[in-house]
Amino acid sequence: MTVNRPNPVQVGTIVWLSSELMFFAGLFAMYFTARSVMPASEWSAQADKLNVWFSAGNTTILVLSSITCQLGTYAAERFRPRRTGKLWQVGQWGMVEWIAVTYVMGAIFIAGQVTEYSDLVEQGLSIHSNAYGSVFYLATGFHGLHVLGGLIAFLFLLGRTFSAKRFGHHEATSAIVTSYYWHFVDVVWVALFSVIYLLR
C-alpha cells in the first residue's frame, strides 16, 4: 500500500503564492507611505480622478471569473476536460469550456484597465506626473501583469489538455494550481480595489 501524500505541486504553489503576498505587501507599503507623506488635499485632488463605478464593474467581472475558474477546476478534478452535452448545456461543461470563459473575463478585465489608464492619462495623471500617479500605476500595473501572467497560464493549461490523449493527474494538477493562482490574484485585487478606490 502506498501512502496518500500531499501533492507537492500544490504545496509548492501555495508557498510561492505566500511569497507573492509579500511582493504585494511591498506595493501596499509603498502606497500607504506615499499617502502618509503627501499633503491630503494634493492626494485627494489626484484620487478624485478615479472612476470608481467603472472599476467596480471591472472588479465584478474579475470576481465572477474566479467562480467560473473554480467550476472549471471541479470539472478537472472529475477528469472531465470537455463538455459532454451541447454548448448551451452549461451543466455538462468540461474544464476547457469553463477556462475559456474565465480567460475571456480576465481579458475583459485587462482591457478595462487599459481603458481606465488611457482615461486617467487624458486627465493628466500619468506614472511620472506626481507621487500619486507613480504609486497608483505601480500597484495596479503590477497586479495587471499578474492577471496577464494568469492568462498565459490558462493558455498553457489548455495547451497541456489539448496535447494529452488521456486527461490525467498531470493535467488536473495544472488546473488546480492555476486556479489557486487565479483566486490569489483575484483576492489581491479586491484588497487593492478597497484600498485605492474605496478608502482612497
Partner: protein, 132 residues
C-alpha cells in the same frame, strides 16, 4: 501533516499581536504595519492550506513517531529526473535583466528566447516520449 499546519497557524496570532504592538508603538508607520500584518496572513495561508490537506490525506509514516522508513515506500509524487529547460529559461532571464541595464534591444532577444524555454518546460511531460 497536522504538525506542519500547527507550526504555521501558531505564527499567525504571534505576528498579528506583533502587528498591533508595532502599530501602536510606531504610530501606524505604514511599511512595518502593512508588512507585519501580511506576514500573519502569509503564515495563515500556508497553515490553513496544510490543515485542509491534512484532513484529506491519510496519516503519513512521518507523522508517526514509531514509523519506519520502508512504510513510506511507493508513490512520492511526480518529479522530473532531470531537465535542461530550467537552464533554457535561466539564461534568457539573465539576458533580459542585463538588457534592462545595457539596452532594450537585449530585452527583446531575452524575452523571445525565454518564451521558447518556457513553452519547452511547460510541455516537457506532454510531448515526445512522455506524450500520454
Amino acid at each position: 501533516m497536522k504538525l506542519e499546519s500547527k507550526l504555521f497557524l501558531l505564527l499567525t496570532p504571534f505576528f498579528a499581536l506583533m502587528g498591533v504592538i508595532y502599530t501602536l508603538w510606531s504610530h501606524a508607520e505604514p511599511v512595518g504595519t502593512v508588512g507585519i500584518f501580511l506576514v500573519a496572513a502569509l503564515s495563515a495561508m500556508i497553515g490553513v492550506f496544510l490543515a485542509l490537506t491534512a484532513r484529506r490525506i491519510d496519516p503519513r509514516p512521518e507523522d508517526n513517531p514509531y514509523g519506519e522508513i520502508d512504510e513510506g515506500a511507493g508513490d512520492q509524487g511526480v518529479y522530473a529526473p532531470w531537465s535542461w529547460w530550467p537552464l533554457a529559461i535561466a539564461f534568457p532571464a539573465a539576458l533580459t535583466f542585463l538588457g534592462l541595464a545595457v539596452g532594450w534591444w537585449l530585452v527583446g532577444i531575452g524575452v523571445t528566447l525565454g518564451v521558447v524555454g518556457l513553452i519547452g518546460w511547460v510541455f516537457e511531460y506532454s510531448r515526445g516520449q512522455h506524450a500520454h
